[in-house]
Symmetry: C2
Subunit: 490 residues, 2 copies
């Protein structure tokens, strides 16, 4: 036995590093000369944050709780560059948690809004739009929001509502000691929000504003999950799921016409998994109906809600297998820290059910056969790093499993889940955390470009739609490269 | 396109689960009838904690900071059973941080101990054994510890010292916000401790007590890293590294004679990595010397200290390659959250240097080529889950990378690093956290048996020593199975 020479060692090491680099996500992307210049600039910004973090980890934004570094990120030149970058589409996000809550807060200035209960109590107040005062609820009278506003002042009212509709707190580690605390609050936010946002005029405004905010964040495609809650109007009409999807469709088409660089929208019907069999049967019938009525706009089916507390896929496999084979599955699975329990084993069901994409897949790294099948079947994992931290799956984002997927070229996209609930931009914050905190220090613009391209590749778009989407994205990308070159050469 | 039938799906799922189970660490272990009964009991205890945790994650000990669940673990019947289990050897632990600090505290009742500085100040006091009062240090006089004891009372003095020699605090998240805080305190503990423990009589007592505590924790082999600090006596003699190793050797032999079921001890010379070239050259000469003088007792070489702040292996590769090829490397590498920086890329050097084992390897999961080589070259990863949590690599132990190694049969052992510094038993706490928090809910007694066997297999023992070690371990294991059967059938 003898050791190799140092020269031989250095050659082996260079080869080894090269092999790892060539396996990393994005390594197949070839950058042209202009892109290489932008890449140099990008990497200068990335390295600056890494070097500071390496010396003093507490300053490294992706290692800290998102709520404590929001201002720091806003001022990061790397973040600002990523904001400007055309990022493709969002493939994992939920109906009423993508667009900013400011739209909702503004909506509460409208007439005919009522409030039941007070702010700051353990049970948050209920809201409802109605021409006349609604019937007393559990002994409590409804008050006109206009009256409440007079009492609290507009600023006071808005601030109260803002706090109600956000997970943000300055001391998240104290307020949310475990996943159930964060999810409890998270779920109650949807409950408070729903009767405001499901008022048809607000519903339409909220959705259109969501698309505007995506567009401003340089996101030009949206494939979102929705529960299709009962949208209503002042005349007492409650809209059917089909009518709600029609509203989504019409508003999307209108937005596309107004914004020719915008690619479009698709919808994944995703009702709540914590439901009894009869309810689920109803959901599945609805899914079939929507699939027939909107064969391209409705991309597929999923089930949502806290996976650990909801029902596992094993409860639904038999039913899901009976669905029309043309209905695609985009299934939440493995959004959990558990290992060998029903929640992480949802991953096995998702794979065998033929899921086209898997939401989160946080636990998949503990399932070697699942990992193999992700590659073999080309099942895309929808990563949502900020969501996973805020909802208590991971503390330091450098430990996020996305790092593993990035290191070995798994089919993945980066998405944002419910960005409005944690004061994040539609996609830029997740891209920033992924690029700086999850990716290797060696991964560069090629990773970001690959993530944008993957969001088209793994979307539910048809082949023709993908061609058009890629064309539009290319134009935007080249424009971004040009603009950035101009900025950095100034 | 059509979906499979439910029957076909169930068959596929069963096969899939079976494939994953057969890849998990320990799946090749065959349990006899008695072991199967013990396994049933073990799994009842494991499932009880998992079920409670699944309902209420905050109650799940491995998901919480170790310091906040010490009492809970002590009362866990699963932990108590694991304590009784013959766990084989400890392959990753550091000289003066394995045995309980109570030995050190007792030693301060000895004559001739002096103290410089006071408890409770930002700079902790210094200690020294000396026949006469040592020379004034930076203007501060040395006081006899006997006098300080009179002032503070024995209880007060002991408690102060106990706090000085432990990372334990009731609010670790507040006191140690990041890795550098924990490591700073950790390093200062070694500094306070050293001049007490390196007094030859204390040195000998501490080491012998360490072996006693191992034995009591049903650990019968120790392969530990040591920096060989300057051991001294009252006559002014400072012992050479060679003399210190001789002391270790003699005490180990004596302990073996007194405890025939104890397998033995080996030493890995592991000086501090944050050193200049000349110092490192001296270390390497010492390593060669010790290797010649103690060809079997000194198992190999390593470098220690906080990896992020120390020098990377790239600084030392050329020198290390010149060392006698019979000196084995057991290298700390990848004890970090970083990705693509010098610290995690130490893993590449460790692999290419031909390391027999790698300490921690926390970052290896982000290096697909390293992962492949671990299996191909059969390089064992020494996992230290409690250490990694306390020293701020991971928050919730369910996210510990060991889960990934366990899921796909990587060569690993579970060890404890510096258990005395965080009030852990020599090995049982790490086995408990690994079995309950890292392993799949499906992994059972076969995993624990495999971990014990791996600690023999991947040790630096000779073939003949391994045969003897396995023989002794088998006897102890069968006794444990018998005893457990008797207890559970009562």
């Amino acid at each position: 036995m003898s050791r190799v020479s140092y020269e031989e060692f250095l050659a082996q090491r260079a080869e080894f590093v090269g092999q790892e680099e060539s396996r990393a996500l994005g390594s197949d992307v070839v950058l042209n000369e202009d892109e290489q210049k932008v890449n140099e600039y990008l990497m200068t910004l990335k390295r600056a944050e890494l070097e500071e973090g390496f010396k003093s980890p507490i300053k490294f934004a992706p290692s800290r709780h998102f709520f404590t570094v929001l201002d720091q990120i806003k001022n990061s030149p790397l973040f600002q560059l990523i904001q400007k970058m055309p990022k493709g589409g969002i493939l994992h996000a939920h109906d009423t948690a993508i667009g900013s809550m400011e739209t909702v807060i503004k909506a509460t200035y409208q007439k005919f809004l009522w409030q039941n209960g007070e702010f700051g109590r353990p049970n948050p107040p209920h809201f409802k739009f109605s021409k006349t005062q609604p019937e007393t609820l559990e002994g409590v009278e409804w008050r006109s929001v206009a009256d409440v506003r007079k009492e609290l002042g507009n600023e006071g009212f808005d601030q109260n509502l803002r706090e109600l509709l956000s997970l943000f707190v300055p001391d998240p580690e104290v307020v949310y000691p475990c996943i159930n605390h964060a999810w409890g609050r998270f779920f109650s936010m949807f409950i408070s929000l729903e009767p405001i946002v499901t008022f048809r005029p607000v519903w339409e405004e909220y959705f259109t504003n969501t698309l505007k905010e995506l567009h401003a964040d340089n996101v030009t495609y949206l494939e979102f999950r929705g529960v299709l809650p009962p949208v209503y109007d002042l005349e007492g009409k409650v809209y059917s799921p089909e009518e709600i999807v029609q509203i989504y469709y019409d508003l999307s088409e209108k937005f596309k016409q107004q914004h020719p660089d915008f690619v479009g929208v698709k919808f994944i019907y995703a009702p709540i998994r914590a439901a009894d069999d009869a309810t689920v049967d109803g959901y599945l019938r609805e899914a079939e109906n929507l699939h027939k009525k909107f064969p391209t706009f409705v991309a597929g089916f999923d089930l949502v809600g806290q996976e650990d507390l909801g029902r596992p896929l094993t409860d639904f496999n038999e039913r899901l297998l009976k669905m029309s084979p043309t209905i695609q599955f985009f299934l939440h699975a493995g959004e959990t820290n558990w290992n060998g329990l029903s929640t992480d084993e949802n991953l096995i069901d998702a794979v065998l059910l033929g899921a086209k994409r898997i939401g989160h897949g946080f636990a998949a790294v503990k399932h070697p056969r699942v990992l193999e099948e992700l590659k073999k079947r080309n099942i895309c994992i929808e990563l949502n790093p900020v969501s996973n931290q805020v909802l208590k799956l991971v503390d330091d984002c450098r430990n996020h499993v996305g790092a593993i997927y990035f290191s070995d070229n798994y089919p993945v996209v980066v998405s944002s889940d419910d960005p409005a609930f944690w004061c994040a931009s539609p996609l830029s914050h997740d891209f920033y955390v992924a690029f700086l905190g999850l990716a290797s220090a060696r991964q560069d613009l090629r990773l970001l470009k690959k993530l944008a391209l993957n969001s088209i590749e793994y979307s539910g778009m048809t082949k023709a739609e993908k061609v058009e989407a890629k064309h539009k994205w290319n134009i935007a990308w080249n424009h971004f490269i040009d603009q950035t070159l101009q900025t950095i050469s100034q």
